[in-house]
C-alpha cells in the first residue's frame, strides 16, 4: 500500500485545497449581479439600462468590485418652456434646424438619443487593527458630459461588532460640453449667445453609524454634506415669458447658481421577523442652499413564500419644496434675480412610487428577479396659473413605469 509515505499529511492537505480552499478559507468566486432596467415615462423619455456588477471576496478578506452601467436614452424631455394653446417653434441647441410643438402639448426636445456609459471599481480590505478601508474610482461618459470620481472611506467596529461606524469622502470632477456651446444664462434665446465648455467640482463627506438593536433588528443613520462649485445650469432648458393671457412672448435660457451646498440625513430600520420575513423602513431628509428641502419615506416588506420564492412589495413617498429661483414662467415685465429656472425638477412637487419585486432562488444559489414599479409625480405649485395655462398640461406632472429583470449568480 502506498499509505506508508511519510508526507501523507502534506499530500492530503494539498489535495483537500480543492474542496476546502487554501488555508481553510472559502473558494474565491466572482459574485455577479446583472440587471436590465427599462424606464418609460409616458409620452416622454424611455431608457434601457443594462448593468452588471462583479464582486469577489479574496482569501485575505479584501473585496474587489467592478461595475458597468450603460444607459440608452430615447424619446424627448421637456425643454422647460410652458405649453401653449398655439404651436411653438424652437431652434435646436446645435443652432441647426428647429422643432415645433403642437398646441396644447408640453414642449419636448427630441434632439438627444443618447447613450451614457459608467464604469466603476472598488476595493475594500481589512486592516490588521480590525478596521476596514475602501477606495473607489468611477468614470462616466456621454456625448456632452464626462465625469471622474474618486472616493475613500473607513469602517470601524465597536461593541463586539454590534456598532459600526463608517465614514467616507469623495471628489468628483465633471466636464460639460453642451452642444452648440453653453448659453449665457438668463439671456433671450433669440440672441443665441454661447460660451464654450464648462466644469463642475463636487466634494462630499459622509459619516454613518449602524447599531444592532437585538438579534433581529438593526438601525442605521447617516449624515452627509456635498459642496459643488462650477456649472450647474441645464444648457438645454428655457423659461417662457408669458403675456397676460398665458401665451408665450419670449424664451430665456435658464441660469443656476455656481455653487450648491447639500446636506442629508438618512435613517433606516430593518427587522427580521421570526417567521423569516424582513421589514424595512427608511426616511431621508435633504436640504440645500438653493431652498430645496425634501422628505422621502419608504417601506419594504420581504415576504418569503418558501426557500425559493420571495415577494417584496414597496411604497415610497417623496416631497420637495421649490428652489428659490424657480419660476414657472416670467410675466411681461420680467423681474428676476441673478438666477432663473423653470425646470420642473426644481419645483414644488410630490411623488408616489408603488412597486414589487418577485425573486426566485435556485438550488445552486442563483437568483432571478423581476421588479415592477409605477412612479406618479405631481406638481404642488400653488401659484395661480395665468390665462390659458390653467387648462394646459404641466411638465411637473409625470408618470413613469420601471421594469427590471435581474439575474445573480457566482462563478
Amino acid at each position: 500500500m502506498q499509505l506508508t509515505k511519510s508526507n501523507l499529511i502534506s499530500q492530503l492537505t494539498i489535495a483537500s485545497m480543492t474542496c476546502l480552499g487554501a488555508s481553510g478559507a472559502v473558494q474565491a468566486e466572482w459574485e455577479v449581479d446583472s440587471a436590465m432596467l427599462i424606464y418609460d415615462e409616458q409620452d416622454r423619455v424611455s431608457a434601457v439600462e443594462p448593468a452588471i456588477s462583479l464582486k469577489k471576496t479574496q482569501e485575505d478578506g479584501s473585496v474587489i468590485g467592478v461595475k458597468v452601467v450603460v444607459d440608452a436614452l430615447t424619446g424627448a424631455s421637456p425643454n422647460g418652456a410652458t405649453a401653449s394653446d398655439q404651436p411653438q417653434t424652437f431652434t435646436r441647441p446645435s443652432g441647426k434646424g428647429s422643432y415645433t410643438t403642437p398646441a396644447g402639448e408640453i414642449p419636448l426636445d427630441d434632439t438627444f438619443k443618447d447613450t451614457r456609459a459608467q464604469v466603476s471599481a472598488s476595493y475594500d480590505a481589512p486592516l490588521a487593527s480590525g478596521e476596514r478601508y475602501n477606495l473607489g474610482l468611477s468614470v462616466s461618459s456621454e456625448y456632452d458630459f464626462t465625469s471622474l470620481s474618486l472616493n475613500g472611506g473607513m469602517t470601524h467596529y465597536f461593541n463586539q461588532k454590534n456598532t459600526t461606524l463608517n465614514w467616507g469622502v469623495s471628489l468628483t470632477q465633471d466636464m460639460i460640453r453642451p452642444v452648440g456651446g453653453a448659453p449665457i444664462g438668463s439671456s433671450d434665446i433669440s440672441l443665441q449667445r454661447k460660451d464654450g465648455d464648462e466644469q463642475r467640482t463636487t466634494a462630499e463627506a459622509r459619516v454613518g453609524i449602524s447599531q444592532v438593536l437585538d438579534k433581529r433588528s438593526l438601525i442605521q443613520a447617516s449624515v452627509g454634506l456635498a459642496s459643488s462649485s462650477g456649472y450647474h445650469t441645464d444648457p438645454y432648458k428655457f423659461v417662457s415669458q408669458l403675456d397676460d393671457n398665458g401665451r408665450p412672448v419670449a424664451y430665456f435660457y435658464e441660469n443656476r447658481p455656481d455653487n450648491r451646498l447639500k446636506t442629508y440625513l438618512h435613517t433606516n430600520y430593518r427587522r427580521h421577523l421570526s417567521w423569516g420575513d424582513t421589514f424595512d423602513a427608511s426616511y431621508r431628509l435633504t436640504s440645500d442652499d438653493w431652498g430645496i428641502t425634501s422628505h422621502t419615506v419608504e417601506t419594504k416588506y420581504r415576504w418569503n413564500w418558501n426557500e425559493k420564492f420571495s415577494l417584496t412589495p414597496k411604497v415610497r413617498y417623496y416631497q420637495q419644496t421649490a428652489a428659490d429661483f424657480y419660476q414657472h414662467h416670467l410675466d411681461e415685465s420680467p423681474e428676476f434675480g441673478d438666477h432663473l429656472s423653470s425646470d420642473s425638477r426644481l419645483s414644488e412637487l410630490s411623488a408616489f412610487t408603488v412597486g414589487a419585486k418577485l425573486a426566485y432562488r435556485t438550488e445552486s444559489g442563483s437568483e432571478f428577479s423581476l421588479r415592477l414599479e409605477q412612479y406618479e409625480q405631481s406638481s404642488d405649485d400653488k401659484h395661480a396659473l395665468l390665462g390659458v395655462q390653467e387648462s394646459l398640461p404641466q411638465s411637473s406632472d409625470l408618470s413613469a413605469t420601471i421594469v427590471q429583470f435581474g439575474y445573480k449568480f457566482t462563478f
Binding site: 499509505l3 511519510s6 501523507l8 489535495a15 483537500s16 474542496c19 478559507a25 463586539q160
Partner: protein
C-alpha cells in the same frame, strides 16, 4: 424531518449554540459577549451544516445525492463545490489503493450490523461487488454519471467537511471570534481561545471504558472513524463493521474506532478512516503520520 431549531445558551466565556444535524447533536462554542454576534455565528454554522445535509444526505429523497443515486445511469449535474470534493476523493482513493471507496456503502444491504448473529453468505456478497468501484463513476467538469445500480455514500466525509466549511464561512464573513464547532464529535476550532489558551476537548479513552482524556486543541480539528458498538459476533469470531470494497468482507483486525487530530477536521476524518482500513496496522500507520491519535482496538 426534525424541526430545525437553534438554541443559544450562555456559558462562562460566551455562548453555546446547539442544533441537530446529520443525525448528530451539534454545538458551536462562541467566545463573544454579544448575544447578537453569537446568534449570527450559530445561525451561519447551522445553516451551512443543514445546507450540506440537504445536499449530500442519503436519507433525504430530495437531496442532490439521493437524486444522483436514483438516476439509473443518466448524466446528472455536478456543481463546482461537489466536484472539488470528488477531486479530493480521487486522491484518497488512490492513496488507499482503492480501499477508501464511496461506492462501497451498497455492501450494507447484506452486512446490517444491527445486532444480527449471522454473517451473509458469499453468494449474497459476490453480486454486489460488480456495483462497487469509484473509477467507474464518470465525470466531466459539470456532469456526473453513476453506472446503473451504483450508489454513492459520502457519510464518511461530509460531517468533517461541513465543520471546516462552516468555519471558512465565518472567516469569509469577517466573524473572527474564537469558536469551536462540534458536529457530533467531529470538531474544528478557529484557533486558540480568547485568553490565548487552547480549547480543552474530551476524547474517549481507548484504554479505559467510559472515561475520557482531555486534549488541548489550539488549532485544527479532531475526528473519529468507526463505531465501537457495530460488529457481528458469529461462532466466536468478531466481524467489525469496516468492509473491504474489493472482497465485500470486513477488514480483519480493524480497530473499533480511531480518533485523530490534524490541521483540519476533514484531514482528521480521512486519516482516521485510512487508519481503520489498515486493519491491524492502524496504530503504526498513525504513528508514522506524526499526528495525535487514539485507537480503540477490538
Amino acid at each position: 424531518m426534525l424541526k430545525r431549531e437553534l438554541c443559544l445558551s450562555q456559558t462562562e466565556t460566551g455562548y453555546r449554540a446547539s442544533f441537530f444535524a446529520m443525525a448528530s447533536d451539534c454545538e458551536v462554542l462562541i467566545e463573544s459577549d454579544s448575544w447578537a454576534v453569537a446568534s449570527q455565528i450559530g445561525g451561519l454554522v447551522a445553516e451551512e451544516v443543514w445546507r450540506l445535509q440537504d445536499k449530500y444526505s442519503r436519507y433525504q429523497p430530495e437531496s442532490w445525492l439521493s437524486q444522483l443515486n436514483q438516476s439509473s445511469g443518466q448524466w446528472c449535474s455536478l456543481d463546482s463545490e461537489t466536484a472539488g470534493l470528488f477531486d479530493f476523493i480521487d486522491q484518497i482513493y488512490d492513496l488507499s489503493n482503492g480501499l477508501f471507496d464511496p461506492t462501497s456503502g451498497i455492501l450494507r444491504r447484506v452486512w446490517l450490523f444491527d445486532g444480527q448473529h449471522s454473517i451473509p453468505d458469499q453468494s449474497e456478497v459476490e453480486p454486489l461487488l460488480s456495483s462497487i468501484g469509484w473509477r467507474e463513476v464518470k465525470r466531466t467538469a459539470d456532469k456526473i454519471k453513476l453506472p446503473k445500480g451504483f450508489e454513492l455514500d459520502l457519510g464518511g466525509l461530509v460531517k468533517e467537511w461541513a465543520a471546516d466549511k462552516a468555519l471558512a464561512m465565518l472567516q469569509a464573513a469577517s466573524l473572527n471570534e474564537p469558536v469551536l464547532i462540534n458536529l457530533g464529535g467531529d470538531l474544528r476550532v478557529s484557533g486558540p481561545r480568547k485568553n490565548q489558551q487552547p480549547w480543552s476537548v474530551g476524547v474517549r479513552d481507548p484504554q479505559k471504558e467510559s472515561s475520557t482524556v482531555q486534549v488541548a486543541l489550539s488549532q485544527g480539528g479532531i475526528a473519529t472513524s468507526g463505531d465501537e458498538h457495530r460488529f457481528i459476533e458469529y461462532q466466536g469470531k468478531r466481524y467489525g463493521h469496516l468492509l473491504n470494497p474489493k472482497t465485500g468482507w470486513p477488514i480483519p483486525d480493524a480497530p473499533r474506532s480511531a480518533t485523530v487530530a490534524a490541521p483540519t477536521c476533514l484531514l482528521s476524518g480521512v486519516l482516521s478512516s485510512l487508519a481503520l482500513l489498515k486493519g491491524g496496522e492502524a496504530t503504526s500507520f498513525l504513528e508514522r503520520q506524526n499526528v495525535l491519535h487514539w485507537v480503540q482496538n477490538a
